[in-house]
């Protein structure tokens, strides 16, 4: 018998006492953490992101480019990679302060480990956990891009921020066009492996700047 058939036979034998059918359990239990309102959700998101020692910059739609440029120059970034689908005005802002590489030029530089920063958009934000999720569409680039450089400047719109994890999971469910790879980021890379003392950045960006874009009236 093949390993597959043998394992499946053992597993079926082991559960022969079960008389329910699969997926008989009714809808999956969702435990929400209810939001008092949109404004409160945004506040909580900003607070929780900052709690991980990530930097939060809150701007209106017209302020994004300046915020991106400011973050790059504040952290002394001289080379920056941008994904192919990034908003052209953000790219232009980055070009004002640093040497900009696009996604396809980046590979050898990433391999040589000589890119200082990356600028991306994002897919979803989660307020209760202070998390940003990237689904690596063209405005976020390949997974590698946000992993090797030391600084990640990440732009998220207020309407991308949901309140809790179940809401984010529901939004991210793979659609008919197929599943996307996902990276969930909650603060910069961190370790507590040495005497439980928190150290930022063993791998992955040590500096995370989150640019939160709120609408003009909000």
């Amino acid at each position: 018998m093949s390993a597959r058939d043998e394992i499946l036979a053992r597993v079926r034998g082991a559960t022969s006492d079960i008389d329910t059918t699969p997926d008989d359990r009714g809808p999956v239990v969702v435990v929400d953490e209810t939001s008092p309102g949109e404004a409160e959700t945004l506040e909580l998101f900003a607070e929780n992101v900052a709690d991980y020692r990530a930097q939060v910059v809150r701007v209106g739609p017209s302020g994004v480019a300046a915020a991106v440029a400011g973050a790059l120059s504040d952290h002394g970034c001289r080379t920056v990679v941008v994904p192919s689908g990034l908003d052209p005005s953000w790219r232009a802002a980055a070009e004002g302060v640093a040497r900009v590489l696009s996604d396809d030029e980046a590979t050898t530089h990433l391999a040589r480990d000589d890119v200082d920063a990356v600028v991306t958009a994002s897919a979803v934000g989660v307020a209760t956990t202070g998390t940003i999720v990237l689904d690596h569409r063209p405005d976020q680039g390949r997974r590698e891009l946000t992993l090797v450089p030391d600084t990640h400047v990440c732009v998220i719109r207020a309407d991308q921020v949901v309140h809790d994890v179940p809401e984010s999971v529901a939004r991210l469910r793979p659609g008919p066009e197929g599943a996307r790879p996902l990276t969930w980021i909650s603060g910069p890379s961190a370790t507590s492996d040495i005497e439980l003392e928190r150290v930022e950045g063993v791998h992955g960006p040590r500096t995370l700047v989150v640019v939160l874009v709120e609408s003009a009236n909000g």
Binding site: I7, A14, V30, D32, V169, W184, A190, H203
Partner: protein, 489 residues
């Protein structure tokens, strides 16, 4: 001696067979005061953090139930969900392999690595690959397996074994780590800088540079998975440092070894799991990085993805109606951090990759109770119940320990433990003998004062592996007799 039981049991490896039984190992660990200090600090710190973030979620109990339910749905219909997982993985471009035991899993991984003609792989921390001793199997075939989690790196460079699910190098302090880095890094790659201090930030920096060199040239990555979603074919790895992202993204080929109990039925079940795991594990609202991938993603990440579905004793655990709940375990390590026995003995005393309360249950379940260590493990607990309260998927560990003790006693009858139990029964069955034993114990209590007593007359070996609370200088019966003015003799 290795068990020769045919059938689905996990084979006890030579390394673990050589491990002393829990009481012996625990006694040795108790003597190691540095370890006790580190462990106490670590478990208490994580415990406090965990309590704070759990308190932020008013519906925590409902979440625990949701988590347990998702795992139970998958486990009780595991055959169906495994087939669904295989189909969705395959349709997303992954190659699925099945492994009955450790040997078979190691052979599958080795064959893939060999076909890539490489002599090294990078690994993200994975308990299941420790369980099957994949690193040893690869080394034996001349392939270096580089552990990339900082703690695992410390353990590997220190020629050591991990002692905690979550903080494997919890038994090492900073100056020991500095010495290990200075001595060992250069022998396997980029050396540590000469002026390395024992500042944790400097040590982490040394690890970053040492490992980055390996990530950037590695062709093959090896991982486990925290969850495998049946309906979408998505695998999930939860981590903090980013070494996981490196291993899951940079190599051309990715091999993930996944225990069959890791499957969850649907995408929606990820919600309670991601709400429960980080809070229970590191006491964070969310861990810094979680990677989800579904087979091959064109132009992003490994273009060849292999998934090895491993049994290795799990179907045997599943057959036990009471015991199968142990397979819900999501390896958060909350039960370790609240366990008074673990806090004092550390992880090595359990003789397995699964330490602490869940290890005391899972190892004898997976391996059977033929070996001495597995016979002793169900006794490595005070049955205080803290592990059950902490467990995010409501595994009733104390209940399972009592069950297993019953099995051990039934099967053997002649172990130190059952002898101790018989002695206890002999003492407890006769009021006179009990009174005598209590008097003797009270005398001992007076003699040792406030020091901790490690053995009680009449209970002998049973108490050797744990600290008993200081004994009262007067037994309850003596007190009763004095207060009531009667003589109980």
């Amino acid at each position: 001696m290795s068990t020769t039981t045919p059938g689905p049991l996990q084979q006890t490896s030579a390394t673990f067979v050589g491990m002393p039984t829990f009481p012996q190992a625990a006694r040795a660990a108790l003597a190691n005061t540095q370890q006790r200090k580190n462990l106490r600090h670590a478990t208490h710190t994580i415990r406090g953090k965990r309590e704070r973030v759990v308190a932020e979620v008013p519906e925590w109990e409902a979440l625990r139930v949701a988590g347990a339910e998702a795992k139970d749905e998958a486990l009780t219909h595991l055959g169906d969900y495994l087939e669904q997982l295989e189909a969705s993985l395959t349709s997303n471009g992954a190659t699925v392999h099945w492994a009955r035991d450790a040997q078979e899993a190691n052979r599958i991984v080795l064959d893939i690595v060999r076909s890539k003609e490489v002599d090294e792989v990078v690994k993200v921390k994975s308990m299941v690959t420790q369980e099957i001793e994949l690193n040893e199997a690869l080394e034996a075939a001349g392939i270096h397996a580089w552990e990339t989690d900082l703690a695992e790196l410390i353990v590997q460079l220190g020629h050591d074994r991990p002692s905690h699910i979550l903080v494997p190098a919890i038994h090492r302090n900073r100056s020991e780590i500095r010495e290990i880095f200075l001595r060992e890094m250069g022998t396997v790659g980029r050396p540590a800088p000469d002026d390395l201090t024992d500042d944790p930030a400097r040590l982490a920096e040394a690890a970053r540079l040492h490992l980055r060199e390996k990530f950037l040239r590695a062709k093959v990555g090896v991982s486990g998975a925290n969850f495998a979603v049946a309906d979408t074919g998505t695998l999930v790895v939860v981590e903090s440092e980013g070494n996981g992202r490196m291993c899951l993204t940079l190599p051309e080929t990715l091999i993930s070894v996944v225990g069959i109990e890791k499957v969850i039925p649907s995408w929606e079940d990820l919600a309670p799991m991601l709400q429960l795991l980080p809070r229970s594990s590191t006491g964070e609202r969310m861990n810094p990085y979680t990677t989800m991938w579904t087979g091959v993603h064109e132009g992003d990440g490994p273009q060849e993805v292999h998934v090895v579905l491993l049994d290795n004793g799990r179907s045997h655990v599943l057959a036990d109606r009471v015991g199968r709940q142990a397979l819900r375990c999501i390896r958060c390590s909350a039960c370790l951090n609240v366990c008074p026995v673990y806090e004092r003995t550390g992880g090595h005393a359990y003789g397995s990759v699964y330490p602490g309360p869940i290890g005391a249950v899972l190892n004898p379940q997976l391996r059977g109770t033929a070996s001495t260590i597995d016979k002793s493990l169900p006794y490595a607990s005070s049955l205080c119940g803290a592990c059950f309260d902490a467990c995010p998927v409501r595994i009733n560990i104390p209940e399972l320990l009592v069950e297993l003790r019953g099995q051990v006693v039934e099967q053997e009858g002649r172990t130190a433990e059952s002898a101790a139990m018989r002695a206890a029964a002999w003492v407890l069955s006769d009021p006179k003998r009990l009174a005598g034993a209590q008097k003797a114990a009270a005398t001992a209590g007076r003699v040792v004062g406030t020091r901790t007593v490690r053995s009680v007359p009449g209970l002998g070996a049973w108490t050797n592996a744990r600290d008993l609370p200081t004994l009262p200088t007067e037994s309850f019966r003596q007190w009763w007799a004095r207060e009531r003015g009667e003589d109980d003799r």
